[in-house]
Symmetry: C2
């Protein structure tokens, strides 16, 4: 496994790789969710590149950029173990040199949900991912469904800007009690961790309501909120029942919606989502 | 010479081309300036792709998008004559389908000069050029020095977003009386055409003042303005003596500046510029 720390090194390593490359952009502090993406990248393309970069431009001024968990040694060991070919680990000043001044934005769908709660977040995401795609030139890039809106935004950017790769969205990997895997789960106290599966429970409730014929988005939201509010440590940021493409909130529904939510546990903000499914 | 009208066709033709491709993005209505770029693209890379696309997103609502001159038949004949390999001629709805919502912006240098006179202009330019670079995947792309700020903005975008090509800026081609070649020159009446070389004359004056030791940007501007105002049909939009990188206006200068200007003749807006040179 090779490690590139500069853009020039990464581009040079890419030139030496076979034509097909699968790419997994990460912020490190890897968990089984990331590793699932890397395994898929490797098996579908023959070669896998993983980036580890805690991207400062996607964090708000009051967010957790400084304290975002980092453990590069462990990350490298995990990536090596699953046959990663190249790890790209640039410093912030390599990606954002002085006088850096170019931005990629996706309008519309970025204004809702995470974009509404975290102004500027998606501009940071699309800009860094655009750069990473140009640096790594992957055949396919892999994103987790856990960040459902991010996956939609990246797909929109790739389509609108005619970028030459395929975006693959992979189902969320969960703990046995349903909690979506996330690097931020490490922030949770024992009590918070015990309450955190309420996100997944509320999504399962939404699916159950859908199965029972509930087609009113507001009703689904209300019952989810009631469930979450029974968990004393949970503080809701948003609960959304939205169109899977436009992310507009839905009242009466014909097709299964994207149900998503963000919930604070103390100083930790957790997100999760589910595209509801029609019963088989 | 092959012609691609859709993005898919262009990408397919690109796959069949040799590795090195020179690319010249144009808005058509070609003149000797464009042809100079195409000849260079062909000779430096072995293959040349030219796009003809009057890009709606770089025109303001009161600008000349609708009446911008078009003559596709003549353009194709000219491009064929100089050995162009592929002409890419998409319709606006091919480049901007419904729900198109992604934008590339360069901040800072786009706020001055043309950007100040034409709000939103450079967002349209960077977005379409970003798309075209992804569609054509050129080794080198060629731009005229006549649009000096545009060339700087494109170079900044390519550097900041780590795009995989080289931007080549080619000296302005001029009529015998010094008027910079431009598709918009066709708009000029006989009288306006007679007065239009005053742009170039004012740039030559700036060079003469520099040669004589003038290092005060405001003085150079003042003398240029006096010269242009002697031309009764000319109406100045701006005259600028600026740093060649930041485009900040300069008072006392140590290095040769970029001198640039925009001047109206009736309803036609002409631009020109010169990076002053130290005497040999």
């Amino acid at each position: 496994m090779k490690i590139a720390k500069t853009i020039a090194e990464m581009k040079e390593l890419r030139r030496q790789m076979p034509q097909k490359v699968g790419f997994v952009p990460t912020m490190g502090y890897l968990h089984e969710g990331h590793i699932t993406l890397v395994r898929l990248a490797k098996s579908e393309n023959g070669a896998a590149v993983v980036s580890i970069f805690v991207n400062p431009t996607q964090f708000g001024p009051k967010e957790d950029f400084e304290k975002y968990p980092r453990n590069t040694e462990r990350d490298i060991a995990m990536l090596s173990a699953v046959g990663t070919d190249v790890v790209f680990m640039p410093e912030p000043k390599e990606m954002y040199p002085p006088k850096f001044n170019s931005w990629v934005t996706v309008e519309g769908i970025t204004e809702r949900l995470e974009g509404a709660s975290r102004p500027g977040h998606f501009r940071g995401v699309t800009t860094v991912v655009n750069k990473l795609f140009n640096i790594v030139e992957p055949t396919k890039a892999y994103f987790g469904q856990k960040d459902a809106q991010q996956a939609l935004v990246i797909q929109k950017m790739v389509a609108d800007l005619n970028m030459n790769l395929q975006v693959v969205v992979v189902p969320t990997v969960r703990e046995p009690d349903g909690l979506a895997m996330s690097s931020r789960n490490i922030y949770l106290s024992t009590e918070e961790r015990r309450g955190a599966p309420v996100l997944w429970k509320s999504l399962e409730l939404a699916q159950k309501l859908w199965n029972n014929g509930q087609r009113n988005g507001e009703q689904i939201r209300r019952e989810m909120i009631d469930l979450i509010e029974d968990e004393p440590l949970a503080r809701i940021d948003y609960v959304s029942v939205a169109d899977t493409e436009s992310l507009h909130e839905l009242k009466e529904m014909k097709r299964p919606p994207l149900v998503s939510l963000a919930v604070w546990f103390g100083k930790t903000r957790l997100i999760d989502n589910k595209v509801l499914e029609d019963p088989a």
